[in-house]
């Protein structure tokens, strides 16, 4: 049986890794934090269950995140860039740190400066394409061209690794 001090120790030791997993799945800091908090809230509520380890905590976060995604209808999933099909999460064991690192490195090393800027503004800053065009002083079609080229390169390189 765990007491609150055990749970505090677990929280401080694993919160960062759990938050990272939730963010890779949900792309949203606040929802990710709420989900990790919820996992620990349940541990506090049901602490008679005996000690738990990091594997249990990560699986609990993953399950909570997938439940959140399952509850989203397809338009919300697409807007938030969640996989359209739950099976993809299972079949690819996503999130896969190796692929995330590979994609990150490919963006840094293989993509043009303008392609990187479009990716940064769209995927990190969350700007719509029309605002990216204004920010970069180019047309929306040019934004599409840069992104299409970047995606083609990343897609090709990933397929070479697989």
């Amino acid at each position: 049986m765990m007491d609150v001090n055990d749970i505090e120790r677990l929280f401080k030791a694993h919160f960062s890794q759990m938050q990272r997993l939730a963010m890779a799945l949900l792309h949203d800091e606040d929802i990710a934090r709420d989900i990790v908090h919820d996992v620990f809230a349940r541990l506090l509520d049901y602490s008679q269950g005996g000690p738990v380890g990091p594997g249990y905590l990560m699986m609990a976060v993953r399950n909570h995140c997938l439940n959140h995604i399952r509850a989203c209808e397809i338009r919300e999933r697409v807007a938030k860039l969640y996989f359209h099909d739950n099976d993809v999460y299972a079949s690819e064991s996503w999130p896969d740190e190796e692929t995330i690192t590979l994609i990150y490195d490919l963006i840094q090393s293989e993509i043009s400066q303008q392609g990187r800027r479009v990716i940064e503004l769209r995927f990190t800053e969350g700007l719509p394409f029309s605002e990216i065009a204004v920010a970069m002083g180019i047309s929306k079609n040019a934004v599409f061209r840069h992104l299409r080229k970047a995606l083609s390169i990343i897609r090709k390189k990933i397929n070479q690794y697989e």
């Binding site: 890779a24 697409v78 897609r155």
Partner: protein
């Protein structure tokens, strides 16, 4: 509109498509691959916050044991 542009459009303006149409679009293997790649890029490019575990614990405890609005209202 080519397949890439269709994916760009659905992620930007999903409300312009019916759920049925989105499922239909996603049934194309090429489109699915482009879309899944964009989901993965989003994961790779989502900035990770700097985490202070002690402060997070304090926030968690405050939230966990905060009285609910209903209790506050009742106690007045």
């Amino acid at each position: 509109m080519n397949k890439y542009e269709l994916v760009f459009d659905i992620i930007e303006l999903p409300e312009n498509y019916t759920p049925w149409r989105l499922h239909e679009i996603m049934s194309d293997p090429d489109i699915r691959e482009i879309y899944v790649l964009m989901c993965k890029i989003k994961s790779a490019k989502t900035p990770l916050p700097t985490i202070d575990a002690d402060r997070e614990w304090e926030n968690f405890v405050k939230k966990k044991y905060a009285p609910t609005p209903q209790i506050l209202a009742y106690s007045k």
